[in-house]
């Protein structure tokens, strides 16, 4: 090191004073501060969630009342329907789950929890957000071009996605692809920052086993993303050339093979599930330990199962393609690996449940969300077994059973996990407490209506209803009135769920101004972010902290207080 840490810190203080005079634009729009970037990601993600939610509203209304004009949207044509489901999926995964769970929480938490003043490369971090924002704008612009938005499902299987004469959305499909590619680049840049910061810049004394689980999980998720997305980036170039230049990478008439894209896509697509799952699991670990005042059960087991899951997640991708025309012998291998991956995930759930044993549980709003995550994710996990087993997947593939299954995993991840995180760290982010009553109303409304949406869809899936159909009246066996009633029930529950989000938005924005002042450590938690003022100042720590112990020393015997912050010497 050319300069000692002390002189750096002195420089830093100068800079801090200087930053106080920054204009609004340089402070909130072009800031390199990790907390501001985290907020930018969070708000962009929330805005995109509203768009994605509106799309769900439009196509669910069409399914419940086919052919009738949807209030606020109009008639949903077949082309509209395809574009809506495609972009709903794309937005919810790439522009909501990823930016909120990895980028927003990663940006906010990693420097604070590791005891740094910022990310290691603040400017690259800002660039990452700017590219991400650009990608969101590009995606939204694809809805308004001639021919409309891309409608070939979020998996974008060629030849449908590759040729305009098949998809009828020449511009829409290319713009969609460019937007996704830009988003990948944004997250590659972000991921390098997260991984490097957590590896290299931890506070003195913070050993590998002293890192909070949520940081571990975000780092492992970033690594999974960086290692799995490469082939798809190459594949996206190939698909873009197929679309725009007329190459034949995926065209069987010209020595290509449409299945190559499916492999490239799912080699990324399956680890991607774990990319968003792991940060949510990390958030849940922080919340349940804090509110049950318990040490995390078997910290090292959690870590090892996380690594195991990460590695295994690269070996299971073709279970999405059992009936896609792959060689049937390969399906046996992928069934084996898929069933194997259920073991570490089950173990993680068991560990979290075991953490509650002997605890002193406080059912605050964040705790309710975290517990709901475990309860609902279990359902999502076990229904995956039906689909990972090749024999039953023959029937269930591409039915509403699949749809209900992955919403039972993605809803807990992207919605329940996110709300657990937002309600838990809101005091730290904004310096004020959320309203608990409103929080609980929002919680119960959202979780109950979520189950009422998707349990009927499991039933429809078992009854043989397949996906991405805009009007089931063309299929006599699916047009039966008892099934239509289930569709109407699911749509009704969706409306209820969307209505309850108003409660959250009201609570969120009112509490910014009227919430009770939070203080440094309202939850009496151990990790380093709770040792600084709420919201943390630029540079985070007035004095760079030293770490003396792991993050989950709650209710340690022989101490009066039931928590023991990481930075307190004894």
């Amino acid at each position: 090191m050319a300069e000692s840490v002390e002189t750096q810190a002195a420089h830093h203080e100068d800079a801090h004073g200087h930053h106080g005079e920054m204009s609004f634009v340089s402070k909130y729009v072009f800031s390199t501060d990790h907390k501001v970037i985290a907020m930018q990601y969070l708000f962009t993600g929330m805005a995109m969630a509203l768009i994605g939610g509106f799309m769900a509203y439009a196509f669910r209304m069409q399914l419940a009342f086919p052919g009738e004009a949807v209030p606020g949207y109009g008639i949903v044509s077949a082309a509209n329907y395809n574009a809506l489901v495609t972009n709903h999926g794309t937005i919810m995964i790439f522009w909501v789950a990823m930016p909120v769970l990895i980028a927003a929480f990663g940006n906010f938490l990693i420097p604070l929890m590791c005891g740094c003043d910022d990310m290691v490369f603040p400017k690259i971090n800002r660039l990452s957000y700017q590219i991400f924002l650009l990608s969101a704008v590009v995606l939204i612009s694809s809805f308004f071009v001639e021919g409309g938005g891309f409608g070939g499902a979020w998996t974008a299987y060629p030849p449908l996605s590759a040729k305009a004469e098949y998809s009828l959305t020449k511009l829409g499909s290319s713009i969609w692809l460019v937007a996704v590619a830009l988003e990948f680049i944004a997250f590659l840049l972000g991921g390098i920052n997260f991984v490097t910061t957590a590896m290299n810049s931890r506070a003195p004394g913070m050993k590998l086993y002293d890192i909070p689980i949520v940081v571990w999980m975000i780092v492992v998720a970033s690594i999974l993303f960086m290692v799995s997305v490469g082939p798809l980036i190459a594949g996206a170039f190939m698909l873009l050339f197929d679309q725009t230049l007329g190459t034949q990478f995926y065209d069987p008439d010209g020595a290509g093979d449409p299945l190559l894209w499916q492999h490239l896509f799912w080699f990324f697509g399956h680890p991607e599930v774990y990319v968003v799952l792991l940060p949510a699991l990390g958030i849940v670990a922080e919340v349940i330990t804090t509110f049950s005042r318990k040490k995390l059960f078997a910290y090292r087991t959690v870590l090892y199962t996380t690594f195991g899951t990460g590695v295994l997640s690269f070996t299971v991708w073709a279970h999405h393609q059992f009936v896609a025309g792959i060689d049937p012998r390969m399906a046996n291998i992928f069934t084996l690996t898929t069933l194997l991956i259920s073991v570490p995930i089950a173990e993680l759930c068991f560990v979290y449940i075991a953490t509650l044993f002997g605890g002193s549980i406080r059912l605050t709003t964040p705790m309710l969300w975290a517990l709901a995550f475990i309860a609902e994710f279990l359902i999502g996990g076990v229904t995956g077994i039906f689909l990972g087993a090749s024999g039953s997947d023959i029937y269930l593939h591409d039915t509403y059973f699949v749809l209900a299954h992955f919403h039972y995993t993605f809803y807990p991840i992207a919605i329940i996990g996110t709300f657990a995180g937002i309600t838990y760290w809101y005091p730290k982010m904004f310096g004020r407490m959320l309203n608990e009553t409103l929080g609980k109303i929002h919680f119960w409304g959202s979780v109950i209506s979520f189950n009422v949406i998707f349990i009927p869809l499991f039933v429809l899936g078992i009854a043989g209803q397949h996906r991405r159909i805009f009007d089931y009246r063309n299929f006599p066996e699916l047009a039966l009135p008892q099934y239509q009633d289930l569709r109407i029930l699911a749509t009704f529950a969706l409306l209820v769920m969307l209505a309850f989000q108003v409660v959250f938005l009201y609570n969120f924005f009112m509490s910014l101004f009227k919430g009770e002042k939070a203080g440094n450590n309202p939850w009496k938690a151990n990790t380093l972010e709770w040792t600084v003022p709420s919201p943390p100042p630029h540079g985070n720590f007035a004095e760079m902290p030293t770490v003396y112990r792991g993050p989950y020393e709650y209710s340690t015997p022989g101490r009066d207080e039931d928590y023991w912050p990481q930075n307190v010497p004894n």
Binding site: D257, L259, H263, F267, A318, D327, R329
Partner: protein
């Protein structure tokens, strides 16, 4: 700084070896023996890659985990290849065949003559 810590080998000598290897890989196919060509093309590419990584990129003096990291990335590529090749690399398999590829291969010799 740590840069001064590691020993700098004779880079020009390593470059000279790389150039010799390059000449061998270009001359190899002239013999017209398939196995020799494969070795001089890809065997030597691997040797060259190893030499560049070890001596120019100094992987050998980095902590061991960097090597593991790079090997893991390569391993995942191999994994992708292994899972994908049975479908993409073959023209036929268990209960399926690529009719368009088989038709194209059947007419390939005629096509090749057109180019000459």
């Amino acid at each position: 700084m740590s840069e001064s810590e590691h020993h700098h080998p004779n880079y020009v000598k390593i470059w000279a070896i790389l150039v010799v290897l390059l000449v061998v890989s270009v001359l190899g196919p002239e013999l017209g023996i398939r196995s020799v060509t494969l070795f001089t093309a890809f065997g030597i590419a691997i040797i060259k890659a190893y030499m560049v990584a070890k001596n120019f990129m100094h992987v050998s003096v980095e902590p061991r985990f960097v090597t593991y990291l790079l090997m893991t990335a390569v391993l995942f590529v191999v994994l992708f290849f292994a899972g994908t090749a049975p479908d993409v690399m073959n023209a036929e398999g268990t209960n399926w065949e690529k009719s368009s590829w088989l038709a194209a291969e059947a007419s390939a010799p005629a096509e090749a003559e057109n180019h000459h």
